[in-house]
Amino acid sequence: MSRPEIEVRGLHKSFGDNEVLRGIDLEIGQGEVVCVIGPSGSGKSTLLRCVNLLEEPTKGQVFVGGTEVTDPDVDIDAVRRRIGMVFQQFNLFPHLNVTENLTLPQRRVLGRDKETAARVAAENLARVGLSEKADAYPSSLSGGQQQRVAIARALAMGPEVMLFDEPTSALDPELVGDVLAVMRRLAREGMTMMVVTHEMTFAREVADRVVFMDGGVIVEDGSPDRVIGDPQHERTRHFLSRLLDPAMAEVEEETSDQVGKSEP
């Protein structure tokens, strides 16, 4: 592994008095797929959003492709062009049709001409299997289709890294598979990916590494077989058991929803 594609050093993030990230160190190599799992409120989405500076870290550094994202003088728009991001709520532009969703950013941000933008858009729509929806408006698409368009929109910018923020959490269960299939293919093609997810099957099967976060720190970091298959920490085991069999969970005094609570 040469220099890491994503590097996080001593990252802290607070919202007011609430310290959401308490010292995160993480490296993601080129072509690596890392799934970040953990209970809600554990800071995993915040960590992801710090990587492209949608959240400004309170302390610490983030490097993407060797450029320091957290440098106050960095051209953040230029850095973000290299980082694709997919949101839980898709965030397609509702006033534009599918093709325009893909071409407008290319033209406005990358300055590509009309023909190039249209060609790249068509290629990426084909990549996510939605060529026939090129003229549709987002509101007429299912959640799964919208999310695949959102992935295509990010890919059309030619990113070196892709960030996924719970990409399937807002989807009906039967639509999750299509989105995961697209992501699996992307991983196979060698894209560097950081995925915040609750899809354990996906993490197990596709990820090179799984990171378990709780209470704003990384509790475990290792191969999927180790972290999901044979977790070393009680907190990880607890989280996984609840996730894999929610019906078995007991009523607890403390909820793991809150940051900084220690497990019993």
């Binding site: 230029a78 694709g84 006033h95 406005r108 990010a154 910018m157």
Partner: protein, 277 residues
Amino acid sequence: MTDTDTALQPKRKGLTRRQKRGLSRGVQYAVFAAAVIAFAVTADWGRLQNQFAQADIAKQMFPDVITLALKNTVLYTLSGFVVGLVLGMVIALMRLSSVGPYRWLAGVYIEIFRGLPALLIFIFVGVAVPLAFPGTEIPGGTYGKVALALGLVSAAYMAETIRAGIQAVPKGQMEAARSLGFSPAKAMVSIIIPQAFRIILPPLTNELVLLFKDSSLVLFLGVTLEERELSKFGRDLASTTANSTPILVAGLCYLLVTIPLSFVVRRMESKAQEAIR
């Protein structure tokens, strides 16, 4: 079962619910009918017709009432609307700025111009501005003055509308745009503002209707014959003919425009409602 039923039901006193409802409705219709009849009987229809509905005087107004007066009203309104829209957009963006003084200035502007009668602003533009800047002319003569006055008035309202529209666009839209590499300004122009305008199209059209009526205040600027709009035109003719028919005709001309516009607004609003559902 029946025993407990009757036991639970309170004894009825007086009217049932249905009877009360019937009575209430009957009273409402009766009051309405009485008001209409009283109006019809007491009004002096002959004199009213004489004063307001003289066919030959009405005829004499055409085609000037359309080709000159209505045309000028529309021109004044549209030019005021454009000035108001541009100025309103600037003020809305200032109001949302991260620079404190911009926000305060925009707030002060909005409070002042929303709080003043439009008439005062017309007088201000017509009298105070030439006094304050001697030798300078507002370009476009009366048209320029009206555009400025109406623009100043409507900008305050439109700024608040536009600001609300921008804030109504979900936060995720800006985040998505920024994550694609849009600068804040580019994201605003290509992603946020187009969506905001969809949201505020009905209230903006309402503003157009208000401006259409406010354009009658041109009356107080002193205009040439060619620059007269509907109200001035109607009033002038009413005084030369000593008859109020021109006022009625001018009024109908206003409605000719405002009623279809209001209809369009209602259509847009119900469509927007459907889109939400």
